[in-house]
Amino acid sequence: MRSSAPFGLKVAAIAGLLFLHLPILLIFVYAFTTEDRSYQWPPPGFTTQWFAVTWNRPDVWEALWLSVRVASISTVIALILGTLAAAAVARTRFFGRETISLLVILPIALPGIITGISLRSAFNLADIPFSFWTIVLGHATFCVVVVYNNAVARFRRISGNLIEASMDLGANGFQTFRFVILPNVATALLAGGMLAFALSFDEVIVTTFTAGQQATLPIWMLEELVRPRQRPVTNVVAMVVVLVTFLPILAAYHLTRGTDTVAGSGK
């Protein structure tokens, strides 16, 4: 029986949720402030002019475009690697199963700075110059786990009998994959892919070590945070980033709703 919650618990829970959300909402207010030299509160006035200013900034567009490209390619790689590994791990018991799981989770279980500096040392030792691809290499590595976690949960839910039933009815391995497995895991993969995209799009710690001279949007923001030069533009970019990352999360939530997949449990 679910009785109603004690008053104190309710207050603590709601206060906790507010603590999580109010700071993000604050960003939205600051995007409209007329003040451009300090973080003054309350804002002396409101304006939408910074949106136009931001729109006309080529450096912001460049960073955004780079982030989108890195996130897209990392997501594709993560989807392929994560799905295949999940299929193997979920369907069968084989020697080294645990090792695979550990290996996939390690890049996010260890602090990002470890992944970052490790990759950087490896690039140094191997004389690999920093480029677009060194960023992708790092991002794909920690994105695999998000896809993997989503896919493994769904693969486990497909009864093994479904695959046998398909083969029994005359479908070979590829037909079974196309007509039975794929339709049943598609939404989980889509959700995993979106979360991987969001993770890559937002990543800054590993990126600082693998990026060289190029600036992804988070790197651009980090520079602004360390040495504020254009506070209003940063405010607007921050607000847009929040909105952009909310969309794939909401979509992923709807795709996996009513299933046992906890979309974010892999982050």
Binding site: N161, E164, A165, S166, M167, D168, L169, G170
Partner: protein
């Protein structure tokens, strides 16, 4: 005539576990064949070996004379009705039934017609547009049956087909499956742990234990003439009499089986004490103690029932005390 299904010295090992331990078996075309045994006895593995979901560690499975060693499930002329039905959740009933035809490249209209026809065969006309999740257990079972039959298999495999249904539905489906098999003439091979089901449906029964077939024969054979104590005990609930008791009752020094329904109250029979009584409706079950041996008797309605602790005299027709092979 070639057998529909033939096992020659088939073994299946999982590591150190011998799931199937040297099975020889021949199922004739048109037979309704039951594989009966407790769980873990190897009967389901044998079914999966026929379907091709497992490959034998050694030995050979052939279907209509063709060795199946290298033939994957999707090219075997057999189809399976799964225990949990394994209906595709993303497809409606019609597409489930037509799945095999779709994969085989059949045209959409022909597929649809064949699927609807098969649904009619299993008495589910007009259910094509529903999702499997909207059906009852019995209906899902019929869809699974239609999905297999539409492929026109030479052998239909059924894995505990009635296990998930309630008693009433189960009896109804038993009759329907029997009628269907007679009408279609396909070889049916079904796996069950329910001896009643095996005896009532099958032409022939193989009793499995520990990865081996301990006895194969007609239902009457395995019921009335069990060859080992295991069969006698598992098929029905025979009284198992040890060699020394059998010898005293006039048999040889071997195990023997006595069906509870064969035991009658007869003046001048063997003396036994009543230790328990259970009313079962059609009959009453008496538990008796005969010189320290437990004997169960099923007495038909109308018999005068003795009271607990009373001493009675019991007997049976000479042929009812079934003697087993000496080595068993």
């Amino acid at each position: 005539m070639t057998s529909a299904v033939q096992f020659s010295a088939v073994e299946k090992h999982y590591g150190a576990v011998r799931a199937v331990d040297g099975v020889d078996l021949s199922i004739a075309e048109g037979e309704f064949f039951a594989m009966l045994g407790p769980s873990g006895s190897g009967k389901t593995t044998c079914l999966r070996l026929i379907a091709g979901f497992e490959r034998p560690t050694s030995g050979e499975v052939s279907i209509f004379g063709a060795a199946m060693g290298d033939v994957p499930p999707y090219r075997r002329p057999v189809n399976t009705v799964f225990q949990d039905y394994a209906l595709f959740p993303h497809l409606n009933v019609r597409d489930n039934v037509a799945y095999g035809l779709m994969v085989a490249g059949e045209r959409k209209r022909a597929r649809r017609a064949a699927a609807d026809e098969a649904l009619e065969l299993v008495a589910l006309p007009g259910y094509g547009d529903r999702k499997p999740s909207e059906l009852s257990g019995g209906q899902r079972q019929r869809v699974a049956l239609a999905r297999a039959l539409v492929m026109k298999p030479k052998v239909l495999l059924l894995d505990e087909p009635l296990g998930a249904l309630d008693l009433k539905l189960r009896e109804q489906m038993q009759d329907e499956l029997k009628a269907l098999q007679r009408r279609l003439g396909i070889t049916f091979v079904f796996v069950t742990h329910d001896q009643g089901e095996a005896l009532s449906m099958a032409n022939r029964v193989a009793v499995f234990n520990d990865g081996r077939i301990v006895q194969a024969g007609t239902p009457e054979d395995v019921y009335y003439r069990p060859e080992t104590p295991f069969v006698a005990d598992f098929v029905g609930s025979s009284n198992l009499l040890p060699p020394e008791l059998t010898e005293r009752l006039g048999g040889g020094r071997v195990h023997s089986a006595l069906r509870p329904e064969a035991v009658r109250l007869t003046p001048g029979g063997h003396a036994a004490t009543v230790t328990g009584r259970a009313f079962l409706g059609q009959s009453t079950r008496l538990t008796l103690d005969m010189d320290g041996h437990r004997i169960t008797a099923l007495l038909p309605r109308g018999t005068d029932l003795p009271a607990d602790g009373e001493t009675v005299h019991i007997g049976w027709a000479p042929g009812d005390l079934h003697l087993m092979k000496a080595d068993a």
